[in-house]
């Protein structure tokens, strides 16, 4: 089986852009990735596009504008992990020898406010049970009970990521915040305050993947694993968002399932990682992700944060891009945005937010479905 490298990356900044369409943003990201990879018309054999709110044939609209159609174009929806799903399909096709070069991108314009998800049935909305932040709040409260996490820890996750985001020109928020500011913002769902939740927004990200034995102009970064897993039923607060679950703590979370597969595929473990981008949809989700990805022992996420390891300059920086808490979350683009960040980190191109000497990186997304994606990159 052939290896897969990322030979080009591109991004449309994440934020709010009046008058700029989903297609416009996708064009910016795809064009940049193709340019880096030195790939033009006829230079790739398939395209996979992640989007959740983009509508019919989002990928076709982007590639039509670029005059680059004719090959199979597959639109992929997997909630927050739409980009992870697109990446998994593209990488697998190259590994299997079906294609030698594939474009993978995601583009999104999210509605404002609490996200209305077609995942929920109308009666769940009517009964007040389609309140996504409430599920985040419940999960955060459990983490406080099981892992010694306090509101102060939750606020410090936000402060850390927003500090990282100051150095990211593609982030929505590029301004620091303080523990006091975070705890002074209104309570959305206890224990979560407004500043502890990421903003749904707009943006696009793109990658060009190639067979590892083909030449690439940019510094190639190896895609060592690209895994997507759904949930095993049981955990009542997992992203599968069931109405009930089992009183059984032994059933693994979707993120843990994906991480276990990814570590095995890459032949690496959490101790080998130099930098991580993970799902910080809310501040507690970052801490829980650290536990579920094996970055610390179960129950050890508060201590990991306290140690300073996950801040830039620490042993294992988490979300050097500023995370979703700084960038915002355009569902179809967010997972690939993480991969773009990590490719640049591994190439040493990240300027003031560079993780020195980074050679092994992991990205993680998880969302409704459940869908959990874990990607491992090396150089």
């Amino acid at each position: 089986m052939t290896g897969v490298v990322v030979s080009g990356v591109g991004l449309h900044p994440f934020g709010r852009f009046e008058g700029v369409s989903t297609t416009d943003m996708g064009v910016v990201a795809v064009r940049a990735a193709l340019r880096e990879a030195g790939v033009g018309k006829g230079g790739f054999q398939a395209a996979f596009c992640g989007t959740a709110y983009g509508g019919v044939a989002t990928g076709h609209k982007v590639l039509s504008r670029l005059g680059l159609t004719g090959m199979p174009i597959v639109d992929v929806e997997a909630g927050c992990a739409s980009g992870s799903a697109a990446l998994m399909l593209a990488a697998a096709a190259i590994r299997a020898g079906q294609y030698d070069t594939v474009v993978v991108f995601g583009t999104e314009k999210m509605p404002k406010g609490i996200i209305r998800s077609s995942f929920f049935e109308p009666w769940q909305e009517e009964a007040g049970l389609a309140a996504t932040p409430a599920f985040f709040g419940l999960r955060a409260q459990r983490l406080c009970q099981t892992s010694g996490v306090t509101k102060n820890h939750l606020a410090r996750v936000v402060v850390k990521n927003r500090r990282h985001g100051v150095a990211n020109p593609d982030a929505m928020f590029q301004k620091e915040t303080t523990v006091d500011d975070v705890l002074s913002s209104r309570v959305v769902c206890e224990p979560l305050h407004l500043f502890m939740l990421c903003s749904p927004n707009e943006g696009a990200a793109a990658l060009v993947l190639r067979r590892a034995d083909l030449p690439t102009p940019a510094v190639p970064v190896t895609l060592a694993a690209a895994v997507l897993r759904s949930h095993v039923p049981g955990p009542v607060l997992s992203e599968s968002t069931p109405l009930a679950g089992l009183a059984d703590e032994s059933v693994p979370a979707p993120t843990s399932l994906a991480a276990t597969d990814a570590y095995e595929q890459a032949g690496l473990g959490p101790r080998d990682l130099d930098v991580v981008e993970c799902q910080d949809t809310d501040a507690a989700r970052e801490l829980l992700s650290c536990e579920e990805l094996g970055l610390c022992e179960p129950g050890g996420s508060a201590a990991l944060l306290d140690s300073g390891a996950t801040a830039l300059g620490g042993r294992l920086p988490v979300n050097p891009s500023g995370g979703l808490l700084s960038k915002g979350e355009p569902l179809g683009a967010s997972a690939l945005g993480q991969v773009v960040e990590l490719v640049r980190q591994l190439r040493g191109e990240s300027g003031p937010r560079q993780v020195d000497g980074a050679r092994v990186a992991l990205s993680h997304t998880v969302g409704r479905g459940a869908n959990a994606g874990v990607v491992v990159l090396t150089r």
Binding site: E126, A127, E190
Partner: protein, 135 residues
């Protein structure tokens, strides 16, 4: 008229009950009622009425109306653990998180949500602290 937010989830009786099922193969309990066990994929779980009392496992309150919701805010949401080994996501009658504590005893109620366009009073299931029951 009084109408349930959705038929088949609970009985609007005194006392009310959540309608679940129990798998004859793996023994797990389900809510809502399933025709295939979500845990072992066996078909034909037995319909059961679930326990009316449980304990509080997690809770929060919703402070701003989520999409499609016409009732009052804030309102409580929590996870209640039932003796069947089931954890149920539910509304709570208590909308102040500070008034609740872990492991607290709760019991099932049917509560009003809002009046719909046809003048019907829409009701749903919720759990209430047992202490709040009038003597």
């Amino acid at each position: 008229m009084r109408v349930m937010v959705r038929e088949g989830l609970f009985t609007d009786t005194d006392p009310p009950a959540l309608l679940g099922s129990c798998c004859g193969v793996c023994g797990s309990a389900h809510f809502p009622r399933a025709d295939t066990c979500p845990y072992c994929a066996a078909e034909g779980p037995e319909p059961v009425e679930l326990s009316r009392r449980g304990t509080l496992w997690a809770w929060t309150a919703v402070t701003a109306s989520p999409p499609g919701y016409q009732g009052e805010v804030p309102y409580g949401i929590g996870v209640v653990e039932l003796p069947e080994g089931l954890r149920v996501i539910t509304r709570l009658t208590e909308g102040d998180p500070g008034a609740l504590s872990p492991g607290q005893a709760l019991e099932l109620r049917v509560v009003p949500l809002h009046r719909d366009g046809d003048g019907n009073d829409v009701v749903t299931y919720a759990f209430a602290p047992v202490e709040a029951v009038a003597p």
